[in-house]
């Protein structure tokens, strides 16, 4: 089974995507100057995954910071997931935010309003 693992840096998040378990995780900071280049491997991997997805895919997004150029790329990722969901495969996006981080909660709600995939907003302790 295919896997995608990208180790995090101070400007880019850790990404783990395991086709076998159907779990995609994006964690850390996403503030690169060139987000398109950074997210390209993930978007391509999702393209491959969409031809033979698991019946259930769990997506865990736990970001501390993300810049606006990442926000477009994250939307692209969610749009790929939305397409998989529309084909009858279950997708859940778990959006983690720190207790007092209203901006991060709002950012999740913005995506929730745009993307037709079930979102779960999950509050974590600081």
């Amino acid at each position: 089974m295919e896997k995608l693992s990208i180790e995090g840096t101070p400007k880019t998040p850790t990404i783990n995507f395991d086709f076998g378990s159907g779990v995609l995780e994006i964690k850390g900071r996403s503030i690169p100057e060139n987000s398109i280049e950074f997210y390209k491997p993930l978007v391509e991997t999702l393209e491959k995954y969409s031809s033979k997805p698991q019946a259930n895919t769990d997506v865990n997004i736990q970001l501390e910071y993300f810049n606006t150029s990442s926000s477009k790329c994250i939307l692209d990722v969610f749009k790929k997931l939305e397409a998989i969901h529309k084909n009858g495969n279950k997708i859940t996006i778990n959006w983690y935010y720190e207790q007092d981080d209203e901006d991060m909660l709002e950012a999740g709600e913005d995506y929730q309003a745009i993307i037709s995939v079930p979102f779960k907003m999950i509050q974590v302790e600081e």
């Binding site: 101070p10 400007k11 503030i31 100057e33 060139n34 987000s35 398109i36 910071y65 810049n67 606006t68 150029s69 990442s70 926000s71 477009k72 790329c73 939307l75 720190e98 007092d100 981080d101 209203e102 901006d103 709002e106 913005d110 309003a113 745009i114 600081e126």
Partner: protein, 167 residues
């Protein structure tokens, strides 16, 4: 707290962000305020960075045009972030229009506008997608104060002053 003048490189941005993050930690700034300041810093510094490329490197006038300024300080429970860079005079009116639009919107309208631009907006090759100013306005919760100073017939100096309240 920190200021610089000069060419904006990726390495410089990384250093400034690291310095500012540890300064905010040392000042024991509230996590909520710290995150807002950090987010706005990222956006305005990356604005400067992406903007550098628009200035023609072989242009003699633009030699100084490649220099940007950046300042952050705190006065009376308010952070002030000031950026300044040269812009082509042709870009002044579109830029002014964009900021005026943002300043005319309420909090809720800004949220809707952000979603519209996020969902429909085109993305430039480097990933700047016209969301920067909207995001800065949302996170700071204040109007964006700006000024354009004509330099010659081709260039103007654009300055932006962002305020973030501590409470």
């Amino acid at each position: 707290m920190l200021s610089f003048k000069g060419d904006v490189t990726s390495e410089l941005l990384t250093s400034i962000l690291q310095i500012m993050e540890s300064k905010l930690d040392n000042m024991q700034e509230e996590p909520k305020v710290k995150r807002k300041v950090y987010n706005v810093l990222v956006e305005c510094l990356q604005n400067l960075y992406h903007h550098m490329d628009e200035i023609d490197q072989n242009d003699k006038v633009a030699e100084k045009g490649r220099a940007a300024i950046f300042m952050i300080g705190r006065v009376d429970n308010q952070y002030n972030i000031i950026t300044g860079n040269y812009v082509k005079s042709d870009n002044v009116n579109p830029l002014k229009g964009r900021i005026d639009t943002i300043n005319s919107l309420s909090k809720e309208e800004l949220k809707e506008y952000y979603k519209t631009v996020l969902n429909n907006g085109e993305m430039s090759q480097k990933g700047g997608g016209g969301l920067g100013f909207i995001d800065i306005a949302r996170k700071s919760g204040e109007k964006l104060a700006y000024n354009f100073l004509p330099v010659d017939d081709r260039y103007s100096f654009f300055s932006l002053n962002i305020k973030i309240a501590q409470n």
